[in-house]
């Protein structure tokens, strides 16, 4: 939270500081739109914030985010160096210290039909990354066979704690635990979310034996890591493109255990996607972990094995 406050204009900072502490601790998103009231999402709810830091459902009473503030926020987020964010402006989000992510929208600039970047940024969505240690403990026992880590696919709809789980798995494997000895872990962190790197240094604890390739395309990054860092376990977020599938396939046959994640509600749904479907069909993964929000963020809906038989049906919630 402190890192987030540091990049906000003073006006927004003081309003957020005035929020009730119960809300502040469960803050998930801060949404800022030019000439619109400041909106926050916390827990499962959302609301506008008045200039005195009170929550309200009336948009008219909310504190207005002016153009001046928008310009200031962008300057602070970019450290007055917009040129350093070209890639980020193309992708539409910026990762800041602490691994938090700021989604942006505004006027898109095209270059020969392709998105070149966003000018006049008017909408900001600040997503606060939460680090929850120990969440992987409930799934770890099912991820090993004879002490060897298994290829695992984590399936989850957005905002169900997929990245948090992956990060904790990386940390647990890297440190070693009662289920396995410590292993070398390689993370390809295309969106700088898993390790939240700043200038190449992980801002989150991903373990002492973990190497991170930050902001690297997944497919290329996986191959690079295998060649250069010889990891025992490779962890990647959000596999989906055809080249990612190929890379996963290759990594698996290079003797590296791959743990990756995909958006989806269930194995059957993910199996319909071209790339992942092929991988599932060929039995690339030995474990599937399905997450949901049924009992709060991070509910483990079920764990399946290679034949899609349920290994364990246990509802685990790590946040109330």
């Amino acid at each position: 939270m402190r890192e987030i406050l540091a990049i906000l204009p003073a006006a927004v900072r003081s309003i957020l500081a005035a929020l009730p502490s119960a809300v502040r601790e469960h803050l998930e998103e801060i949404r800022l739109r030019q000439n619109q009231p400041l909106e926050i999402r916390y827990g499962q709810q959302s609301g506008y914030v008045t200039p005195s830091g009170q929550l309200t459902s009336s948009a008219r009473q909310g504190w207005l985010f002016t153009e001046e503030n928008a310009v200031k926020l962008l300057a602070l987020v970019s450290q007055h160096s917009l040129y350093a964010l070209e890639e980020e402006l193309k992708r539409g989000y910026i990762t800041v210290v602490g691994g938090h992510r700021i989604g942006i929208a505004g006027k898109v600039v095209l270059d020969r039909g392709e998105v070149k970047g966003i000018r006049d940024v008017t909408s900001f969505n600040i997503r606060i990354a939460r680090e929850k240690k120990g969440v992987a403990a409930r799934v770890m026992p099912s991820l090993f066979e004879a002490g060897q880590p298994l290829n695992t696919l984590v399936i989850s709809p957005p905002q169900c704690g997929k990245t948090t789980l992956l990060r904790d798995m990386a940390r647990t494997i890297s440190y070693g635990s009662e289920w396995c000895s410590s292993r070398k872990v390689g993370i390809v962190d295309e969106r700088s979310e898993l390790a939240g790197c700043l200038q190449g240094v992980p801002q989150r604890d991903v373990g002492p034996r973990t190497d991170v390739l930050d902001a690297c395309p997944k497919a290329a990054g996986m191959m690079m890591l295998i060649r250069s860092m010889s990891p025992d376990v490779l962890i990647v977020d959000e596999v989906g493109r055809p080249e990612d599938g190929e890379a996963v396939w290759e990594a698996i046959h290079a003797g590296v255990a791959v743990i990756c994640s995909a958006h989806g509600a269930d194995v059957s749904e993910v199996a319909l996607r071209p790339t992942l479907g092929k991988l599932i069909q060929h039995g690339a993964f030995s474990r599937y972990i399905v997450l949901s929000r049924a009992k709060g963020v991070g509910t483990v809906q079920a764990i399946y094995d290679r034949q899609l038989k349920m290994v364990e049906k246990e509802k685990v919630a790590w946040s109330s």
Partner: protein, 172 residues
Amino acid sequence: MVKLIGAVLILFSASMVGWQIGRYYACRPQQLRSLLVALQMLETEIVYGMTPLHRAFIKVGNRVSEEVGRVFLQAAELLVTEKAHSAEDSLRQAMSRHWPQTALRKQEGDVLASLGQVLGSSDREDQQKHLRLAVTHLRGLEEEARVDQAKYEKMYKSLGFLGGLLVVILMF
């Protein structure tokens, strides 16, 4: 005897004044060169290194001559401590503090200040254009400064001495 000491003093101080003015003409091209080098380094940092502005300022500030470097170091500090709310503001504040101690004039200050208005607020291509423009501008000024140096440096130095001498002669 007193008269003699007075004469020596006058001669000495008059030559010193002349020497100072002459030195100003000698320093200006040198510092302009420093500023040019600084902007070219800034271009490399921004266009190829994609270094955040405050760190680029520090890098550049540490590598060019002290008088010019101070401006960049101060600007970087203002940015980091959030005492300046924009890149332009940081440069303006830094310049208002350190510019008078340099041999540089308002013209060069204006070039730097107008560069500050766009610094950091656009993509790399655009930054490069603006930096190059500023460099060309400064090159012109440097040329002028060199001509001035050739014309006035020696002149003021001798003028100081000769002026002092004139007063001494009139005294006797």
